[in-house]
């Protein structure tokens, strides 16, 4: 799927932003599938990152994620995005049950001076693959979501970002006293993405 040109190992800001936003699109789909937020039937299988990945076929969700990643890549290119959080909430009570936190560190030099970095496509894909495997395997330790859930995505940006008309400001939707598991991270040499999932403590677990 990935288009390749002659200069293999050079990565530009644009390319890096595209990789990260694309990664988030697949990661969000994978989380929604693996955590059962949407019914299993609404997903279709594709091959990506050397793994079978599942993508939603639901038009509403599809367009939500498409619009989201489009905006994200714009912010990523400007170096304004600090973090993306996918929040899973109880549909009934609105209580936040899980937060998938993708922290982004941007290489300021690249944004300011427009230089490019060197890292092979293959290596980045391998790092992303490891995260995707971890997301898929996360169901083994995350608590069961035994009630209907909804999701939302929060973007943490710099304060000088103009709020697009389709976006509103939000509260952080934090979980009180959460349990956290850090996953692998990947680095395009321009954007470093750390993945972390925090979830509501099971009552019997801690006390």
């Amino acid at each position: 799927m990935a288009a390749r040109t002659g200069s293999k190992d050079i990565i530009t800001l644009r390319g890096s932003a595209a990789i990260v936003s694309e990664f988030f699109g697949y990661a969000a789909n994978s989380i929604l599938y693996n955590r059962g937020v949407y019914p299993e039937e609404s997903f279709v299988k594709v091959k990506k990152y050397g793994l079978p990945m599942l993508l939603t076929d639901d038009q509403g969700v599809k367009s939500f994620i498409t619009n989201l990643t489009a905006q994200l890549s714009e912010w990523l290119e400007a170096g304004k995005l600090q973090r993306i959080v996918l929040v899973i909430m109880s549909k009934a009570s609105g209580e936040v049950l899980e937060r998938w936190n993708f922290s982004i560190e941007t290489d300021g030099e690249v944004v300011d001076q427009g230089v490019s970095r060197e890292k092979s496509d293959k290596e980045i894909m391998r790092e992303i693959q490891a995260i995707m495997r971890q997301i898929a395997s996360s169901i083994t330790y995350l608590p069961c979501l035994d009630e209907p859930c909804v999701f939302d995505v929060l973007a943490y940006t710099d304060t000088d970002v103009a709020v697009p008309f389709t976006w509103i400001e939000s509260d952080p939707k934090l979980i009180a006293n959460p349990q956290m598991v850090k996953l692998h991270s990947f680095d395009t040499k321009i954007h470093k993405v750390d993945t972390l999932v925090s979830y509501k403590n099971d009552e019997w677990d801690e006390q």
Binding site: S63, K80, Q134, S137, T159, V161, A162, K182
Partner: protein, 450 residues
Amino acid sequence: MDARSWSSSRKRHPLHKKNAENCDRFIPNRSAMDLGYAHYMLTEGTKGKENSTAATLTSPGREAYQKKLAEACNMDRTRILAFKNKPPVPVEAIPKHILSLPSHPPSKSVKKSRRSIPQSSERTLDAPDFLDDFYLNLLDWGSSNVVSIALSNTVYLWDASDSSTAELVTVEEDDGPVTSVNWAPDGRHLAIGLNNSHVQLWDSMTSKLVRTLRGGHQGRVCSLAWNNHILTTGGMDGKIVNNDVRVRSHIVETYRGHQQEVCGLKWSGTGQQLASGGNDNFVHIWDRSMSSTSLPTRWLHRFEEHRGAVKALAWCPFQANLLASGGGGDDQCIKFWNTHTGACLNSVNTGSQVCALLWNKNERELLSSHGFTENQLALWKYPSMVKMAELNGHTSRVLCMAQSPDGCTVASAAGDETLRFWNVFGTPEVAESASKAKKVEPFAYVHRIR
């Protein structure tokens, strides 16, 4: 320390251990996991014992903790954004309609030349007998560019295009004084709230009384807000009444939620939500679609954070669901609310009573008017809330503000019985609505990679 807490966390989390060993799908990243530290932050860390060595580590737990701390102090340096349109709820397998979102405006900020903000008022008019009463709303600037101001029992009209003054009406001594004025959206009809609980509708073209609305309130009517043909009135009795001015029995809805005088009343730009502020320090958000004739309408949100009467309310013109509210003498804060979720986004202590708030229609700025000690107008940059300018001139608290239809000039009326005009919001820019149509495609920007 790390090693010990790691092992203790293992002991206390048999779940993790089991999964790590028995489940072939879990691929732990030992170097990145640092569960011991996470555990430490969750137990000891949150009890308030800050560890100095922790400062060098960038644990997300610590980040979250700092985030909370920063929010408590209102020192948040990031913005948290979410899509206005939420993803579809899972159960509806096929959404009724597929929303095609409008394309995002280009986020590249266009360098704007700095504008100078005149520090003194452009024009000052005498306003004898202007009542120095915090709760009244005695000034409004209509869409036909006419300023209406109530001076005791009389309502005057000042035409901003030719600077001519006219007296619209002097009410009877027993009925007055006039406690509120508000222009209808057509810029022709003016609603006048009176001390005797009546509301009069006047035609400014013919200077004729069109109708009088009675029976809505038990006390004076000190706040008014139009929403098309609905005139919403707020009274000293704490009631908010929606009047349909077209029909004979004009009271169509009553909102009960305030215990004291309703002094601030504003409809949102879409006309969907009404914000009301009262002397009981509450701000309520009312949703039009939630109202029904049979049951008393309940508020959508109640904000109890202000510690003084809330008269100053302003809906943001460039961001939906964003409301700014300002508290009176005991509170002195400007607070920002997401009225969709009910979240408080920011709070700024101004150090003085907040009497009125206005958003700049052309720039992301907010103007507030204050009382003791400076009696100033303050211009704030949003969202950073950096104070850009202070405008002095009034010698008593600045009770009311109104914005010209082009959004550039602000009129302010104060207890010093003057009406001042300020050229604070600059010149209107040509709306550069270059909404480039962007192709919507699956999130792969494959063609862009390298």
